[in-house]
Structures are given as structure tokens and as C-alpha cells.
Subunit: 209 residues, 4 copies
């Protein structure tokens, strides 16, 4: 991974935000994005339309969440982004989105994991090579105490049998997709959202049997 | 709130209309918008595509609904806009839209309120800080006598336990979103429409259990 | 109605086609449009993408369907357009579209009419002033013999109790919307498609009760 | 069929990809396209967004799949494209897409064929002239061994009662549409996707009876 400087990171997130906004996955100023840059984490400031970001919508924070510089205030969810970066040095980008499918499926599924198999699209997720494997995405209950939620995520992945990859779902809230670079993270986001959209339809169809 | 002059209000509503039209929430010349300006209420004239408004599509009316100037005739629903402005001096913008989700859910729900909890997106509505709270939007039966419907809405909110905020639904008709300024009103509209879209899917999924 | 000349009619249909194509209602070169011009009927030629029409995609025909001039061959459904024009001198535009909702609902409904009440959007259809009225759109079984289908439509509306207005559905095929001018026809199309989309969702929701 | 040279083939596939990408049918770098050119097969390289292709995203291969020139590596599914070209000299273009509807329906249907009748849109598929006919598209189980899957497809169509036309579905994977030229292949793709979208809704509606 070619580590980015701050301005490169901002440019990447503006472009990703435009693409994500057109998909309808960051409604009502929801969602937040970040990149691990060469000397800080670049995070979106709270309150902006993430589909129409500009240079003034970003802050730099350190790994403790302290603001190094930038405008406005960081999203409350910054703690969760930082936990994901702390859990793996390979994680260089986090995209948090609110799609209808991710929001509704994470409520519909009562257990703690979204699991699918049988989809070719699983191969869009790094490391998957067959539709016959089972792809699992952990679901965490939503919590307005973001530090506590970040700790819950840390604790969960401290269990070595829980593999930190692709993304996590927060129930009734949305998806955090992540990856080794912005392009891979976008691919994880798009692949997972496709699978969520398929499952939404598949569950309704199966009820029609 | 920095009160707008008439021309600023018109510019805001043209921009909002373009965004709303692209969402598909004002089909077939449906919907109507207004802003409380410095010396009048700016309202959309009837019969125009609200997604493609121009300077000639607006009228100025006073609080009694009398036309002060402008082209065409005000929407029949102007009485309802004025009732919402009368009920709270904090209301500076009203956006009335017709989405499939708002139309269908307001018919599906037999009671007088749309209620949700468990959604992070509830926090897009001013005053909400947790997904654990319950968000309620009053539903009124549709009525072609708009003065009578406006009075029903006034009477309902004269009950102090009924909090006037974010929006109201008219059954089989659509949403009236409102707020302290155009940006907040847009946010309420977008947040509520996301929740309607989620509930539409959630109800169908639950039937599949 | 200000009767158009041929070139005005073509310009109107190109613009309407662009708008309709963006809605996804004329897939796979489906659909066809026409206008009653001052001295002929302007109809779309077969085989073109109706969302990307140009001056070369039209023919002029007389009331018997004879080609007066133009390129290509008229749509097989021209006979049905002409029947609608013959049935009412007030009809000046016909827009035939293929939406998923119109196609599926016209199959789901086993009877010969699509009926709704309770929707404010019914008022987008000329002559309707209340959501409490019942709006009815006749459904005809599809027939590859377009002359026979045109005659079936003529016979149906020769019954004075069957009011020729807004549109007709052909089962598993799509909608023919019509009106006194292109703008009104577009409004009928958009209003009816909104109602079809609502009913599609409403029926699925009701099953969830 | 006017056989294309390599550069014409590339231009056609770039334009088709842009159109297909806008439909949402090639998410997460999924899908792949090819054309039988005058002296080779032009295929998309793996790993690119098929909605934003450029001249550098293509390879030329021979009928055995050997790379003649070009950048990157050919899609793993090239073997399946080549099998379709081998099965019929009339096939000049193959478009492989991943829509939600094709993916989900091909899983929902337990048998080996997607069959519909009663849709006018069946006539968008070459050779169909009536909604009363039955349109059938073979469904093959997905297989990560593409040579084996290609052989399965070859074996299936070596049975003369199995007509090779329009497209095939791979279960949980997507559609391969094909035709005698790019325009016809696009029409088959669009017509089939419309039918998949209709069946998705029809099945859910029927459950509501």
C-alpha cells in the first residue's frame, strides 16, 4: 500500500463520496468516511452531505481521536473508525454508509451475523474464491456510546476465530466497509451492498413459495 | 434564523425542487413548497412541475392566504402550509411531497401515527439523539376541504401532548415536512423518507418470517 | 387545443421520449408514441430506442393507417393509436409504455379493470377532484392481431357507460395513456404510473397483515 | 453481419459498458463482455469497472483462449464466452451481467429453466412473435471451474432440442446474453432483464393472493 498524504486522501474521499451519494447510501448527511494517511487519519466532519464533499469538510485526527487540524467537528463515529484501524495495520480506508438494505436486513436478522453462500458476487470480497464458501459479516447492536461500541468491536475481534475483513454491520444503522486501500474498500462496499440487495429480494421471494 | 427576502426564498425553493424532483417525490405536478420570507409567505403556484420551477412559478401570500403578488394560483394546499406556520413561529419552510412509500404506508397504517424506533436515522430528525427513542409522525385522513383539514391539524396540535415537529402525513396523499430553515426541512424530508423506505421493506420482510 | 404541425409534433415526441426513457418505461425498443397533427397522425417508427428518438424515427399516417411519408415502418400498434383517436376527437396524443408495474399489475388483476380509490394522486387525472372517487382503467387481454384488438377497444367504448379517458391497460403488455395535448397525456401517464407503483407496494404490504 | 475490426469492437463494448453500468448490472468490477471480431475475439480484462472501460481494458484472444495481445488478464469466464461462440457462428457478441433480479431468480427457481409466457416483451427476443409462446432460458449451476462449466454448456446444447438463443443464466451468478451483433445482444439483455424484473414482482404479488 502506497500511503497517501492528506490532500490525496481528501481527493479520494471526495470522489468516493460523490459515487456513494449517487447510490443513495448517505441520506440526510448520514455516513462518514476516513483514510489512514501518512501522518494522521483523515475523517469527514459531521453535518455535511457526504455526496457533495469539498476540501473544507475534513479533519485530521491522531489515533487517539485528538483533532490535529481541520474544520468543524469529527463525526461521533470516529471512535469506531479508529478501532478498525487499530485492529489491523492493513486497514487504510473505512466507508460507513446507510443503505435501506443494510439497515433493514441488520434488523431482520436476529442473530449476530449476516451469512450467505451461493453467490458468485462473494468473490468481490478479498480472499473469497468460490460461491460455495460462506461469507459472514458480524452484526453489532447499535449503541449511542460510540466508545463503548468501539470497545465491543475490539473485544469481538480479539477472539482470533473472528476474522476482521470486508465490513461490519451495526443493527438498524448501516455498514462499515473497510479495506487495504480506497479502491478495495469501494469494492467491498459495492459487493456487500449487492449481496444485501439480493438477500432482501430472496427472503421475500422465499416467503412466496 | 436569518429571515430571507422573497427572491432568496424563491431561489432556495427552485434548488430544493430540483433535488426533490430527481428523487421522484413530486410526480405529475404534485407537491407544493413554501418559505416564510421577511414580509410574506412564498408559495409555489399550482400546476407546475415542482422539479423544474422557475421565477414565474411562485406567489406571495399573507398569513390569511390572500395573494399579494405573483403568477398563477396558489396550490389548494396553501391553507395547510399556513396552518403549520401559524402553529409555530419557528417553522420557516414547508415541503409537501408525494413519494410511493409515504403514500402507501400512510394507508397501510390504520392508526393515527407512524411510529418507529431502533433506527440510527431517527437522529437526522432535530431533537432526536438516540435510536432507542420512539419517533412519531401524526397521520391525518385526507380531506378535499383544505380549510377543514387545516383546522383538524390545528386542533390536533392545540393538544400540548402532541408535539409539532419534523412532519405530518396525510393518508394516501403524502408528507408535509417542515423545519426552522430550508436545509433543516430538507434534512427532515430526507430522513423521514429513508425511514418510510425502511419500514416498507421491513414490513414485507417480517411477513416472510 | 392548438393543433400542431408535423415538425412540432416530432419535437414534442422526441422530448417526451427522452423523459420516458429515463424513467425506464420503454425498454428494449418497446413502446410507441403518436400525436394528431394538423393534417396527419405522427407516429414513431418501429425498432428505435424511444428514449433516444430523432427526426428520422417518425412517419406520417392517415386515419386509415396508410403511410403518407417518413422513414421505416410504423409500429404494429399504430392501429390501436388510430382507434383511440377515432373514438374521440379530443384525443391529440397517445403514449404507449412498458413499465414493470403496469405489466405485472395488469396480469395480477384477473378482472377487466384496474380500480383505485383513496389516493390524492387520482386528482392528477383530468376530471378527478377527490380521492374518494373511484378511478377505473380498463384492462384488455393482449392480442397479436392488432386490428382485432383495436376493434375490441372500439366495441368496449361504444358502450356509453364505459368512459374513454386517461388510458387503457393491455394485459402483460403495458399502458396506453392519452389526452387532449402532450402535456396532459404526460400527466396522465405519470399519475397512472404512480398509482400502479403504489398499488404494487400496497398489495404486498397487505399480504403482510 | 458486418464483422468488426478490433478497434470497432472495443468502441462498441465501451459504449455498451457505459449503458450497462448505469443500469447497475456490473457492480464491484463484475461482469465481462466480448465481441467476435474479424481476426480474434475481443474480451474485457479482469478487474476493471465495466461501466467505465477504456481502450486499455481489453485483450484479443483466439478461439482456444490464447492471448494474442492486450493488457492485463482475461476474465476467468472467457472460456464460457468462447464456448458460446463455438456453439454458433451466428453469435458475435456476449454480454455477461450481474443484476439483482437475475441473481435472485436463478436461485429461487429450483429447476433448470426460467420460463415465461404472457408477456408482450417476449417479442423483444429474436424469433418470438407472440406473448402466447413460452420463452425458456436455461439455468446452469455455478461452477468455479470455468472449463467444466463451459463443457456443461456445450453438452447441453449439443442436444438438438435445446435451442441456443438469447441467453443463459448461471445460478446465483448472472446472465450471459448473446446475439448476432452488439445491438441485438443489448436488446436481448434489456428484454430479459425486464422479464426478470417483472417475474420478481409477479411472484411476490401472487403470494399476496
Amino acid at each position: 500500500m502506497n500511503v497517501m498524504n492528506t490532500q490525496q486522501a481528501i481527493s479520494e474521499l471526495i470522489a468516493l463520496g460523490k459515487w456513494i451519494g449517487a447510490k443513495g447510501w448517505v441520506p440526510a448527511t448520514g455516513g462518514n468516511f476516513s483514510i489512514r494517511a501518512d501522518d494522521c487519519f483523515v475523517v469527514t466532519a459531521s453535518g455535511f452531505d457526504k455526496g457533495a464533499l469539498n476540501n473544507k469538510c475534513f479533519l485530521n485526527v491522531n489515533s487517539a481521536g485528538d483533532i490535529l487540524n481541520g474544520n468543524g467537528k469529527p463525526s461521533a463515529e470516529t471512535a469506531l473508525h479508529l478501532a478498525l484501524y487499530e485492529l489491523s495495520l492493513d486497514t487504510h480506508c473505512v466507508l460507513h454508509t446507510h443503505s435501506v438494505a443494510a439497515t433493514v436486513l441488520s434488523r431482520y436478522i436476529k442473530g449476530d451475523v449476516f451469512s450467505v453462500s451461493g453467490y458468485e458476487m462473494q468473490k468481490s470480497l478479498t480472499g473469497y474464491t468460490s460461491h460455495q464458501d460462506t461469507l459472514s459479516i458480524a452484526i453489532f447492536d447499535n449503541d449511542q456510546d460510540m466508545n463503548r461500541l468501539a470497545q465491543t468491536v475490539r473485544d469481538y475481534f480479539s477472539n482470533q476465530s473472528h476474522k476482521l475483513q470486508h465490513g461490519i454491520l451495526i443493527r438498524g444503522h448501516g455498514l462499515y466497509a473497510f479495506g487495504q486501500n480506497p479502491a478495495q474498500t469501494k469494492q467491498h462496499l459495492e459487493g456487500l451492498e449487492f449481496l444485501f440487495a439480493c438477500e432482501l429480494e430472496r427472503i421475500k421471494l422465499e416467503a412466496a413459495l
